[in-house]
């Protein structure tokens, strides 16, 4: 069964600094999708960034970028120039066909 592991329950970053959130996953599939979702206190799930497993190039979305290491089954999220509004729970997710699995989440605190 596919599992997603986020080993950092909590992370903290100073405003304007850079932080990296870790995610690993376990799968025997070769073609799948990976996502990072942000969940602010409102509890809405907001897509931050996605990565197709067949693409070698790391996805980038403004201040958000990923380091996708397919062989290592690692998918970390880097947030540059952190802002107060980035404070939230971040969930890593794996999707193969209609099966979507989430990690336990990392709570990110941004210090002014």
């Amino acid at each position: 069964a596919q599992t997603v592991t986020q080993s950092q329950p909590e992370m903290s970053v100073q405003e304007a600094e850079t932080v990296t959130l870790s995610c690993t996953y376990d799968t025997s599939e070769s073609d799948y999708y990976l996502f990072w979702y942000k969940q602010p206190p409102s509890r809405q799930m907001i897509l931050v960034i996605r990565q197709e497993a067949y693409k070698q190039q790391n996805a980038t979305e403004n201040r958000f970028s990923v380091n996708f290491q397919k062989a290592a089954k690692s998918f970390s999220l880097k947030i540059s120039d952190s802002q107060l509004g980035d404070a939230a729970m971040y969930f890593c997710a794996y999707r193969w066909h209609n099966d979507m699995r989430f990690g336990a989440g990392t709570r990110l605190t941004v210090k002014p």
């Binding site: 509890r43 799930m45 897509l47 996605r50 999707r95 209609n98 990690g103 989440g105």
Partner: protein, 111 residues
């Protein structure tokens, strides 16, 4: 920008009662999903729905759960006889391809 909507935002029910959670997916999406998130825990997949039938379901989605797309716009999750442990946020999501768009969630409280 089109979005997934869910009603109600908060539902309080007594144990043993039936509840129906409603979702309106994005109109041109073809795949629909329900997830739940118990407070403080991770988001868990419940069920996926395509072409008017369930395509996948998790071990959580037992006989007390059912889903329906009664018309061209709504997608519902029914819990037949609620239990205390059903208290959670329930998220609906939809997609046309691989990127899922989530609704704002319904907070279900079972007393």
């Amino acid at each position: 920008e089109p979005e997934v909507t869910q009603t109600p935002s908060h539902q309080v029910t007594q144990m043993g009662q039936e509840v129906i959670l409603r979702c309106v997916p994005i109109s041109n999406h073809l795949y629909f999903y329900w997830y739940r998130q118990i407070l403080g825990q991770k988001v868990e997949f419940l069920v996926s729905f395509y072409n008017n039938e369930i395509s996948e379901k998790s071990e959580i989605f037992d006989d007390q759960f059912s889903v329906e797309r009664p018309d061209g716009s709504n997608f519902t999750l029914k819990i037949r006889s609620t239990k205390l442990e059903d208290s959670a946020m329930y998220f609906c999501a939809s997609t046309r391809s691989y990127e899922q768009y989530f609704g704002p969630g319904t907070r279900l409280t079972v007393t």
